[in-house]
């Protein structure tokens, strides 16, 4: 239980590091169907993600990570810098309350943005990056509406990745951007891509358009 002590956020964090922030929320399906190999590969992928990000000193000062798991909805980690972020093993159980998880993520983003504003910290358009292997077991229409608004107002970017038997049909109704289907269980490649993408964003000017590497090429980790 003493883990939490290492993550206590200090009020001086913005004064000590006034760099613009690039917030990213990982929204991870940890429902019962992820049990076994999928959750194992997901856990390994997150570790790779941290290692990759750690090698980029500029990204280290700018990227802030939060993790929400759903099955049930749980904030695994509130926004924190990559170096203090400690991945801990996610376990798979329960249903897939995807709708509630998305609402929670948007709320956390709004709170974070407020904090940036009161501290005079500029920020990049936040990312919500969702990975799921199923279909929502709760009401997802309000979540779809909030994603549509968010994308329209450019208040965040929402990506969704379907694993295995994910309901790609619902994902494409939920997300404005086309959902990507993960090839096999290539979580590792996915997280290397995510780290590179966040890395290039964090190296740009907050208003710049950044061209991301297409993950759906034959050698990429996904298919459309």
């Amino acid at each position: 239980m003493s883990d939490f002590l290492e993550q206590i956020p200090f009020s001086v964090e913005f004064a000590e590091n006034p760099e613009p922030r690039c917030p990213c929320i990982l929204l991870l399906d940890t429902s019962g169907s992820m049990r076994g190999k999928p959750i194992e590969e997901l856990n390994n992928g997150i570790k790779v993600f941290k290692e990759e990000l750690m090698s980029d000193s500029m990204a280290l000062k700018r990227i802030e990570l939060a993790i929400i798991s759903f099955g049930p909805v749980n904030i695994e980690a509130d926004f924190q810098m990559v170096d203090v972020f400690q991945p801990h093993e996610l376990t798979a159980k329960g249903a897939t309350p995807m709708g509630a998880a998305i609402l929670q993520a948007v709320e956390m983003l709004n709170t974070r943005k407020e904090l940036y504003k009161t501290n005079g910290i500029s920020y990049y358009r936040p990312w919500i990056f969702m990975i799921t292997d199923g279909a929502p077991t709760d009401l997802w229409k309000p979540a779809a509406a909030i994603i549509r608004d968010g994308e329209q107002n450019k208040s965040f970017t929402f990506f969704s990745v379907g694993v295995d038997n994910a309901d790609m049909q619902i994902l494409s109704q939920l997300s404005v951007r086309q959902p990507i289907k993960l090839k096999e269980l290539r979580f590792r490649d996915l997280f290397v891509w995510l780290s590179n993408s966040l890395g290039s964003i964090s190296h740009s000017q907050p208003e710049d358009q950044v061209a991301l590497i297409n993950p759906t090429t034959p050698s990429g980790w996904g298919v459309v």
Binding site: M1, F4, L5, E6, I8, P9, S11, V12, D78, T118
Partner: protein, 268 residues
């Protein structure tokens, strides 16, 4: 009927004092007492002994025991938290000053050598009283405010950043902060100036909620009134590199809650 109080506390010596072989000049104490109206009242006191005073570790300990004793007497004589008023608090502090003078005489030192600050919270079910002389701060929340903490008094500085007021000085009664809150404060933190730069947000002049929330989330899960294990964790935290990098001063943190984690889940 309210749930019983749960608390954890720690005072640790700062790295600058460690280097010179000095002892911890901060002191803290927490006790509960039951009033005639069957209200469980928690008395939390923290004090920071002045770095410039040679025997201030005795001053800070003395004020913790003296104030706790006097508040207990008040309760045991039939008093309640709502019966605490400014002149009574002044009497308590003057009594402490008398005791400090006696202590100084007995040890052939000047009372100034015992200089220390005072932070105290006296918490009942429907009323809470707060006392402060000097720096450090107390933050609180209530069931209505949920997980949003706010400070009671902003840390007092003298003319300069590194000066403050001490309960040992007779003129300190002019700088006494005292307030009785009519309502249920169910979570309170008291901390000395060694923590105030990381627990308070100076630009917005607010309590830094993200700092306090994780502590209380964990404390609510405790089963006992006093958690030795949690208090040991606080020691680890206060001594950690992350904290000492930002302040080499002595540090005190007292955390008090009346919530449990079931209530919390219901609230969220």
């Amino acid at each position: 009927m309210y749930l019983p109080w749960k608390y954890a506390l720690a005072s640790t010596v700062g790295t600058s004092h460690q280097k010179t072989g000095q002892v911890c000049q901060d002191a803290s104490s927490c006790q509960t007492v039951v009033s005639e109206a069957n209200d469980q009242i928690l008395i939390a006191v923290a004090s920071d002994g002045a770095g410039s005073a040679n025997f201030s570790e005795h001053g800070s300990k003395l004020i913790c025991t003296s104030l706790t004793r006097q508040v207990k007497e008040h309760i045991q004589n039939g008093g309640e938290v709502r019966d605490i008023y400014l002149d009574l608090v002044k009497d308590w502090i003057m009594m402490f000053q008398k005791e400090a003078n006696t202590f100084a005489e007995e040890h052939f030192i000047r009372p100034k050598e015992l200089a220390c600050t005072l932070l105290a919270a006296i918490l009942g079910g429907d009323y809470a009283a707060f006392i402060q002389i000097g720096d450090g701060a107390i933050v609180t929340t209530s069931p209505e405010e949920g997980d949003n903490y706010s400070w009671v008094f902003w840390p007092q500085n003298g003319e300069y950043e590194n000066t403050t007021f001490f309960a040992t000085d007779s003129y300190s009664l002019n700088h006494l902060n005292f307030d009785v809150y009519n309502g249920h404060c169910d979570e309170v933190a008291l901390f000395s100036d060694g923590l105030q730069r990381i627990a308070l947000h100076y630009e917005t002049k607010t309590a830094h909620n993200p700092f306090f929330r994780p502590f209380f989330l964990e404390l609510r899960k405790e089963k006992r009134n006093y958690s030795k294990r949690f208090s040991d964790l606080l020691v680890t935290f206060l001594n950690s590199t992350r904290v000492s990098e930002r302040s080499d001063d002595d540090k005190t943190l007292i955390l008090v809650t009346r919530r449990n984690d079931k209530l919390l889940k219901g609230a969220v």
